[in-house]
Subunit: 435 residues, 2 copies
């Protein structure tokens, strides 16, 4: 029987899984540090809930099936379930509602490199009633910065824009009717050549002047302050454009005040997130040395989260990390080092069955000091026991034989250097607790 | 649109979710303390994999669907995926393989109280090649004891048996042909009356003597030592029975040596786990004061994990906690107290937008000392800010107004007593870090 997982699913060996869990729990911890409370909605949703918000390609990708009378679908992201959750629990929530969710989502993607059918999303959002201050948009930059600084995977830059600037500009150029199509092309700018970019715009009916204007605009560079200065000088004066510039300036100023290092974020006027429902600030995050990863953390501000499900205006701002995709890219680029095949920090090795009870006691003492401890209870030859320790990749083992049992002195053996030390139980616990 | 989750799914409010997460992470942590490494197999499996091991009722309950050419099913437990995983990654694993998995599983159950269609299982197993020592069976008792002691939810008792004793007994009574059916009836003993129990056995063709023998046998009581003594005296001498008694004695003796308090476990000869694939030691765990919860942690020893998928003999022993079911029962019985609606330990409240940057700095200092900290950035009236803090249920808030900003002294306010203290940043961090 074929025991491989289906294409598009990620299944890790224990050593890779340990690293994955480490990253996942660092993200969860940072989300909690900022006061985002976890929620956990079901993977199974009524199909009508998902279909109300899915469109186009996404709808095609939904895993949907019937069981009895129920038309069931697997969630394709964590945002639609959030919208439903907020609508359903509206009266039980305290707004601004800060929620995190780390969970699996599903899309019946065609098998393709980097596309997963089951993938972890790590999301946070702040949802308000009626009105949400721009300071929350700035706080998101602070959080992205904090998460990726803690993860310490690679040097990163958060790229920032405001959807109103782009749409305001297009209005100014008399292109609002083609706005969605143009934003979609801008969204692809990192993936296509400059020639293809111009051609696609041309195909939409833009003339050379318009194409040149757009190109000049989205390639404005400089510090946030410089870019905002240039934006203010542009001969565009639609309300939307001006509002976008003002919002962007506010967010950038606050991000600075909130202590985000200037080298970790910049304005990028080509960030459009054209397929999404964002209405203001938008974020993408890139590893400086691995632009081919694409955005590793994206999000933005939206005017209205749950209008499909509740008659309340619920603006919000949020970000999302596609963890499964990110991890697979980290693996592929050898950015993850595997040190061991077990969650245990220490393996206790009783040399014979005579010592398993003592070994178990020593292990319990270590566990009570928060040290993950495995005991090799198997009655196998001593050589095989050391081979087992070696294969597990634990850095230290505690050996307990007849002599150790008699003297109540335990041998701590460093598996890398081979160094052995004889220690009392108290010394052993102290030493390993401070490792 | 109906925003309720479908019947049979659990969705929690933020305050309940916090408690759920606390329990889940305590379980995960205890599993790690014992050196069980997490794995995370996909929820989606090839249908043929699941159908190879599902039988009867379970098969009916599988969520199964086609997408393109692929026949997909949602896993109904974590054991079948473990079997597939071990077969697939056989050469990459180190045996004895200690794995944990906490994840969702799915069954298309009829809507019924206490039955869930999506539910968390928390599993650990030790898998060996060819032979697995009985000391691992005893270690499982130690782990169940450790997990439920740490969880501190209610007084519990682990009930222990060995399948070989029951099947050996039935052989001795000449009833081996009806063994499966009889074990199934014994399995229901907690749910039916003594009269029904006898009637069901009688319907199977057992005579009064046999029924009486069986009743006497499964109701043997006493300490483990006393029960084993009584078992040895019984006039039954099938090899299987004797082997079962010997195994049970070994496991009980080791559990005692491994420090499991005698009041937390006992032998219960009516534990059959008749529908499962167990071949030796079996466990169930009950809350002493809530027997109606049923078993909250069950498991046992099996001879061969993955014979459907690989031509290797892989014996193992494992346990499983049905967390969703357990949590719903705890909720129903008011055994969970909700203290707050946020993961934040502290809320920082800037009185006006003038103080949000300072508030953010204070929050960052707290976060760096591992204190989960929310900042209320919303520009709303001061009264509403305090109401927000109150509704969130945080025990302490830090208030920062013009005066605090000038003097760099921050007001720590206890939300229960109303007590206010003026503290420097360092004092504030020190005080909250040691709370």
């Amino acid at each position: 029987m074929n025991t491989k997982v289906m294409t598009g699913l990620m299944e890790l060996t224990p050593e890779a899984q340990l690293k994955f869990e480490q990253i996942k729990s660092t993200i969860a911890q940072e989300f909690a540090r900022f006061g985002f409370s976890p929620i956990d909605t079901p993977v199974l949703e009524r199909s009508e809930i998902l279909l109300a918000k899915a469109g186009g390609e996404t709808e095609q990708q939904i895993y949907q099936f019937k069981k009895g009378d129920t038309d069931i679908a697997l969630r394709f992201d964590l945002t639609v379930p959030l919208a439903r959750y907020v609508a359903e629990h509206y009266h039980e929530l305290v707004f601004p509602f800060r929620r995190s969710q780390i969970g699996k989502a599903y899309r019946g993607e065609r098998p393709q490199k980097g596309r997963f059918r089951e993938f972890y999303q790590c999301d946070i959002d702040v949802i308000a009633q009626d009105q949400l201050d721009l300071s929350y948009d700035a706080e998101m930059i602070q959080i992205i910065n904090s998460v990726f600084t803690k993860l310490n995977l690679a040097k990163f830059t958060i790229r920032l824009n405001n959807r109103k600037i782009l749409t305001g500009l297009l209005e100014g150029l008399g292109l609002e009717a083609k706005s969605t199509a143009i934003l979609r092309i801008i969204d692809k700018i990192e993936k296509i050549s400059p020639q293809e970019f111009d051609q696609e715009l041309s195909k939409l009916g833009l003339n050379q002047d318009q194409i040149q204007n757009l190109n000049q605009f989205i390639s404005l560079t400089g510090t946030p302050t410089e870019i905002i200065k240039q934006l203010k000088k542009l001969p565009i004066s639609t309300d939307k454009f001006n509002q976008g510039v003002t919002e962007l300036k506010t967010v950038v100023d606050l991000a600075d005040q909130f202590g985000v290092s200037p080298e970790n974020y910049r304005i990028d006027l080509s960030i459009a997130r054209g397929l999404d429902y964002y209405t203001g600030t938008v974020y993408e995050t890139f590893f400086d040395d691995y632009p081919e990863f694409g955005s590793i953390c994206s999000g933005g501000r939206y005017d209205d989260l749950a209008s499909h499900y509740i008659d309340k205006k619920l603006p919000g701002v949020g970000i999302s990390i596609g963890l499964t995709r990110l991890f697979s890219q980290l693996l592929e680029n050898n950015l993850i080092d595997f040190t061991k095949k077990t969650v245990a920090d220490v393996l206790v090795v009783p040399l014979s069955t005579q010592e398993i009870t003592l070994a178990n006691q020593v292990a319990q003492a270590l566990r009570q000091t928060d040290i993950n401890t495995d005991v090799l209870l198997a009655d196998i030859p001593i050589k095989k026991k050391f081979k087992h320790a070696d294969r597990l990749g634990v850095k230290q083992i505690v050996v307990i034989g007849e002599d150790e049992a008699k003297r109540q002195l335990f041998t701590l053996q460093n598996m890398t250097s081979g160094e052995k030390t004889q220690l009392t139980l108290k010394e052993l616990v102290d030493k390993l607790a401070h490792n």
